[in-house]
């Protein structure tokens, strides 16, 4: 199943600084919860892993991440991630695009969109959760990215229990935070 998410947020950092972080493979991937780069294949291709867990469903993906666009003048980037479940139980594809706009010097607007397609066990058993989980993952990514720019510490492990818990609270009117 496919889900698409868009996020727009502002950071109080100059556009060039934001751009260099957004297009640095190790920095950007480190902001994705559960993701890790394990090997650089060439300038645009990297190998990595992503671990996801929510409720009883766990998935680990071994994948290839490719930067398909890094246009420094237009401040547009795009990357594609292709992952195969490490137990052969499914696969995932992610296309992410990021655009930067300088609102004022030192204030940058970041637009991020993600299309995620999941096939296999995660889709079979967790389809109703995928949009919510993806949303949570992107929220966590945004927070991590902001922390990275601010030079703060952040935790890129995916906290599965709390994520599922916060979704349940959200569904039933509890406090999401």
């Amino acid at each position: 199943m496919t889900t698409s998410i868009n996020k727009v947020f502002e950071v109080e950092h100059p556009i060039d600084e934001v751009w260099s972080s957004l297009t640095d493979p190790y920095k950007i991937v480190n902001c994705v919860p559960g993701a890790e780069l394990t090997e650089q294949v060439d300038e645009n291709n990297f190998k990595g892993t992503v671990k996801l867990k929510f409720g009883p469903v766990k998935a680990g993906y071994d994948g290839l991440i490719t930067f398909t666009e890094r246009d420094a003048s237009a401040k547009k980037m795009a990357l594609k991630g292709l992952g195969v479940d490490d137990k052969g139980k499914g696969n995932a594809e992610m296309n992410m695009a990021g655009t930067l706009i300088e609102k004022t010097p030192g204030l940058t607007e970041v637009s991020v969109s993600m299309d995620i397609s999941i096939t296999g066990m995660l889709a079979q058993f967790g389809s109703r959760l995928i949009t919510d989980v993806s949303n949570s993952v992107l929220d966590q990514f945004v927070n991590n990215f902001k922390a990275l720019l601010d030079g703060k510490e952040f935790d890129n492990t995916l906290s599965a229990g709390s994520m599922a818990g916060s979704m349940v609270k959200g569904l039933f009117g509890g406090n999401k935070s």
Binding site: M1, K87, T119, R128
Partner: protein
Amino acid sequence: MPVQQCRAWNRLPPNPSLFNINNYQITIMIQCKTSKEISGMGHSMKRKEDGRFLQGKGNYIDDLKLPGMLYMDIVRSPYAYAKIKNIDIEAALKVPGVAAVVTGKDLEKYGLHWMPTLMSDTQMVLPTDTVMYQAQEVAAVIATSRYAARDGREAVRVEYEVMKPVIDAHKALDPDAPVLRTDKPGKKDNHIWHWEAGDKEKTDKVFAEADVVVKEHMHIPRIHVSSIETCGCVADYHKVDNHLTMHMTTQAPHAIRTVIALVAGHVGLTEEKVRVISPDIGGGFGGKVPVYPGYVIAIAVSFLVGKPVKWIEDRSENLQADSFARDYHITAEMAGTKDGKILATRFKVLADHGYTDASANPSKYPVGMFSICTGSYDYQTTYMEADAVYTNKPPGGVAYRCSFRVTEAVHAIERITDRFAFEIKKDPAELRMQNFIKKEDFPWHSPTGWIYDSGDYHAGLQKAMDVVDYYGLRKLQVQKRKEGKLMGIGISTFTEVVGAGPSKDFDILGIKMFDSAEIRVHPTGKAIARFGTKSQGQGHETTYAQIIAEVLGIPAENIQVEEGDTDTAPYGLGTYASRSTPTAGAAAAVAARKLVDKARKIAAYLLEVSEEDLDWEPGKFTVKGAPEKVKTIQEIVFAAYTNHPQGMQAGFEATHYYDPPNLTFPSGAYICVVEIDKETGAIDIKRFVAIDDCGHIINPMIVQGQVHGGLTQGLAPAMYEELLYDEAGNILNGTLMDYLVPTAIESPSWETGHVVTPSPHHPIGAKGVGESPTVGAPPAIANAIVDALSPYGITHMEIPITPFKIWKALHDRGVV
């Protein structure tokens, strides 16, 4: 992505002040010929089987534990369409307790990697190179415990090369669609079969000249039987005497034994070496008719290792992999006059069969009895055609509580009839009354060749209208509409076709669809009766006993009914499609009559009179003019073993194989009343009146239970159930969290009643009732909802009709 539902969204708190609900069965007067002690037909005898069920003492497949038994679990495909590059079993074999992992390549050595389907198509048992649907069996893990088998399953690593699947049936015949069944030499497309009935030329002419023509596209969604008990088996092969006992959740044990012998005869499992035992079954509904790969793998493994092998599906495997039902895309058209006379109908069907045609239809009828789609109406011009296609979805097409595609046919005719009434602004009840086949016109020849045995459609609908206060409700509807409220009344007046079937037309894999009964009465006058059918909760142990009691006068309490063991029961085609009462029930009546004939001879001998001088009433013979001279059936039976006339065979037994002369045609008139919350789309069923005509009733209590269960399973596709797939072939509701089977929470108060027109050709005038409510309920509900929405120009809603669909339809029209 389709929007999923949550349980209990749809139920508003009832507001009985507006609607006068009869929370009890509408009483019917049944004249019983026998006393309560005998409890023949018409008595609401308590179910004999319920003692053990209610005390948790049933004997289901998973209760069976044999010494040395191994357990099997199945590795399933995560993809809808993929090549298998490698199956790595090394890690699985290291899991403590795992004994073996079986793949398609292993079965291929014995020629057991393919099997036939009931429709003579072919199906993989385990794949050797390609998987064709998500959740397809890929390998089997055998272990000493269920837990070890599951752990072993998790450790099997399969490498796939994913291919683009065909999911949408409408795109299956596109020129650029990949050809799925490359295993079939020369197959160049995904087309399975084409079927037609009726007269195309005549129909097209009537349509071209008709004043009024209406047309709707409708999808009868892919649904699942979701019986409480999943499928499973214990295959128990004994090498020493080359004998297989197959304990198995099957609705048709005898047919399964024959199929096993046909498939595995070449490895020595000939039919006398195979015994199939079908124990208590927790619901079948058609889903336990097919042979699933798990059964075959279990047999193969037991055969190879010489130990019993148990396989029990989990809930999601059952929902995701076992045969689905329905999935017909139908274009329905009706032509008529401005004053409401139906002149002709035309139907075009696209049937999505998934990976293989594993329908459970009689061989001659790939589209089942869909051609009953002309319904309860008096017209002679129709044409229908159907095409079936392969897609990358689980195979199936089972007759889910439905006589082979009758549900699809009834939805089409009952929806399009309402559409016609709406078009000419005529009351749908009056339009039906105008067009019904008249009581005196039976037996009635339908334009597609069926001979309806009997019916009184006017009486049925009139009774339903009286019970529900139809015209009162129509007045209330006018008032509610003035207040801006949405209220709808929907009618379904359906004709069913059940009891397959006459041997000249009906067979499955060549075996004719008769059924059988064998009655043995013991010297003390108590009996055991065995049948070729198999109850899955229908109450055969009670109803069959009552049929025999009705004819023979032995109390039903003293008649033990046994089914499901091929070593002891006479051959029969099993229980599905409401066929048990029409076939095996008839066989019981005829066998019992043979015994009455024998009893007469013995009574004449004992009373020293001629046979003509005897009067029979169930349970005893009396001498004409001398009522004090009596011989009870018990005395006569005792004499059959102790003092039988010379020249007569001793004993008191009879067997009959009943080949029905025609099918039976139950009918029903259902009226549903709904209120819909405009802002949320929530649907509240205020009334549901179901008047059934199933001919003579054997046990009114059991019939009422059948109708209640069937109506709830009719509510299911109308408002809740549909197996959803995304474009990659992922199931989106593969657990009961997401696939909503309605429960008591969702069910309205069903009001049930009857009219009785006995089947003239059936020995006891019964017609069968098991599936009528499942067949008749969906269009009544859909018609009620569409009626509620009709002021906004809405003429059709696809089932399941969810609050979201309603809200969206109203929102799109600017209503909310």
